[in-house]
């Protein structure tokens, strides 16, 4: 590989890693704060992508679709938490696995009933449909840069939310000791609901952003789910920053693995995980 290719592949790695971060951050928050293992998180990504498709075809613009989609998915998330997940906090992990596994089946079939099984494309908004020439033959799509930029902004937003706001303080407290939070007279149920809805919205937003470049198709959530698990394991449960680092590591490992070790590309990500487990069984940034 020449230098220019390496640079461009680096750009690819960053973009893929940042998108994965968006999905995994919600997952790690729900894991860390609520202690719930959620297999349906990949479905949230799928729901986001299909929402982007449906809303874009109705409204004609991905912008509008995303603007409508964020509050909508937040609301769905809160509803799900109220209806289902709030019953799971005191149950053991096995029952959580079971219920969220059932949810995957339900979401996929609902998707099949409501939207069908065809593959659909979502148009890139005209504003970002250009490409920037990087070498004499290759251009880099502006939209991919936009995705990276949005992800970075959201990561900063999450940082601000968790470090600087009252909600963030409650989230951090809940992360360490839920009985302490309750002792402070804070409504822990409300925190859980907000965190869960936030996780749902983040995963769905990732799906919406990715829809134009990945197209929308059945079972698109399951690959994302397992990669997100790997990211959470590597980063450490509950650690948003661990998730960011891990997502970037995975982005690089996957991108360069594909080109350099094509026969083993699917495995590279998991080998990275195995190495981290040997080194630090609880992830690179374990929470207190």
């Amino acid at each position: 590989m020449d230098f220019a290719s390496i640079l461009i592949q680096t750009l690819n790695s960053l973009q893929y890693g940042l998108l994965l971060f968006l999905v995994a951050s919600g997952l790690t928050l729900v894991f860390g704060i609520m202690g719930i293992i959620n297999l349906a998180h990949g479905s949230f990504y799928m729901i986001g992508a299909y929402l982007a498709f449906v809303l874009t075809s109705v409204t004609g613009s991905l912008f509008t679709a995303i603007l409508l989609g964020i509050p909508l998915t937040f609301a769905i998330g809160a509803l799900l938490e109220w209806a289902l997940f709030s019953h799971l906090y005191k149950r053991d992990h096995l029952e959580q696995v079971l219920l969220t596994y059932g949810l995957i089946l339900i979401f996929e079939e609902l998707r099949s009933l409501l939207v069908g099984d065809e593959v659909h494309g979502v148009d890139i908004p005209a504003l970002f449909s250009a490409s920037i020439p990087l070498s004499d033959v290759l251009s880099y799509p502006v939209y991919r840069l936009v995705i990276s930029a949005v992800c970075i902004v959201l990561a900063l937003g999450l940082y601000f939310l968790i470090q600087r706001t009252r909600l963030g303080m409650m989230i951090r407290a809940g992360n360490h000791d839920r009985s302490m939070v309750e002792a402070l007279g804070i409504n822990i149920n409300m925190i859980y609901r907000v965190v869960f809805a936030l996780g749902f919205a983040l995963a769905a937003l990732a799906g919406m952003l990715a829809a134009p470049i990945s197209s929308v198709f059945p079972n698109m959530g399951s690959h994302v789910l397992i990669i997100s698990f790997v990211i959470v394991v590597i980063g450490g449960i509950g650690s948003v920053w661990g998730a960011l680092i891990a997502a970037l590591v995975i982005g690089f490992a996957d991108t360069f693995g594909k080109v350099l070790l094509p026969d083993f590309s699917g495995m590279v990500v998991y080998l990275v995980m195995a190495a981290v487990l040997l080194w630090r069984p609880e992830g690179i940034l374990k929470k207190g």
């Binding site: 293992i37 992990h93 096995l94 029952e95 079971l98 596994y101 059932g102 399951s222 698990f229």
Partner: protein, 322 residues
Amino acid sequence: MNSTASTTLKLLGLLLLACVPLSGESFYVELAAKTLVLAIFAMSLDLLVGFTGLVSFGHAAYFGVAAYAVALLSPKYEAASLWYVLPASVGLSALAALLVGFFVLRTKGIYFIMVTLAFAQLAFFVFHDTPLGGGSDGIYLNVKPTAEIAGWLPFDLDNPSHLYYFILAALVGVYAFLARILQSPFGRVLVGIKSNEHRMQSMGYLTFRYKLAAFALAGGLGGVAGFLYAVVFGFVTPELLSWHQSGNVLLMVILGGMGSLPGAIAGAFVFTGMQELFASWTKHWQLVMGGVIVAAVLFLPGGLAAVPDRIKRSLQGGGSNE
């Protein structure tokens, strides 16, 4: 419930299963054979989930490793010897479990669930991506292994009835093996680990080793099921190692009630039965299945396992009509 009655019930169940090939309906014999294979698979996972307290969400990996081992170890157009491929494939799956166990048993709780899943995915990609496994198309086992020993053929796996009884014998064998192990000092330690691992450690048990042994053992027994699956269907694909497969077998264990070997067998039958039944209603049968699962978790804490107890209790409650 005394033990004579329970033994009688078990023998009755066995008799019932033994009668299936007499029906002569080859499709249903094969369906029953598949269910028996899944029952073996479910029992092997129950050793981990129900008896040792390790919720593995990647058990399909060992099932798949053994299935692939049969396909890869058999010559393309000749029969391999059963007495070579069976131990080899079971050994390989146990070895894979030993290796994976060394990593995953360093973690606990949610981590353990996710890490077992991720390692199963790694195994999936070994067969999916590398030249070893033939990609997503899988590999055919063109000729079933032969049971011939020095010119003498005790039974013929190409004969569907022989194959069925071979599987039934394997089921009984695995059941007896596990039942015996659970009564041994080793088995008691596993149950102790499930109940209170920390206490086991403070009593001087190096629990990691026991868990690793259990993990490898469960992997090997899952391999028995994988071996039989490959022989029944003559075809292996990476899907055998997929996380849906791991999820389904976990479901069987839970449906049957964790920590009960007959329960695991029943779970496999209930699962297959539901699948066939729902699929005959609607092509969106997974919606029904998903709904049943979610409802079961919400409204039946303790799972289906608790249902007979509930019925018993309600029967006893209304004892006056007897």
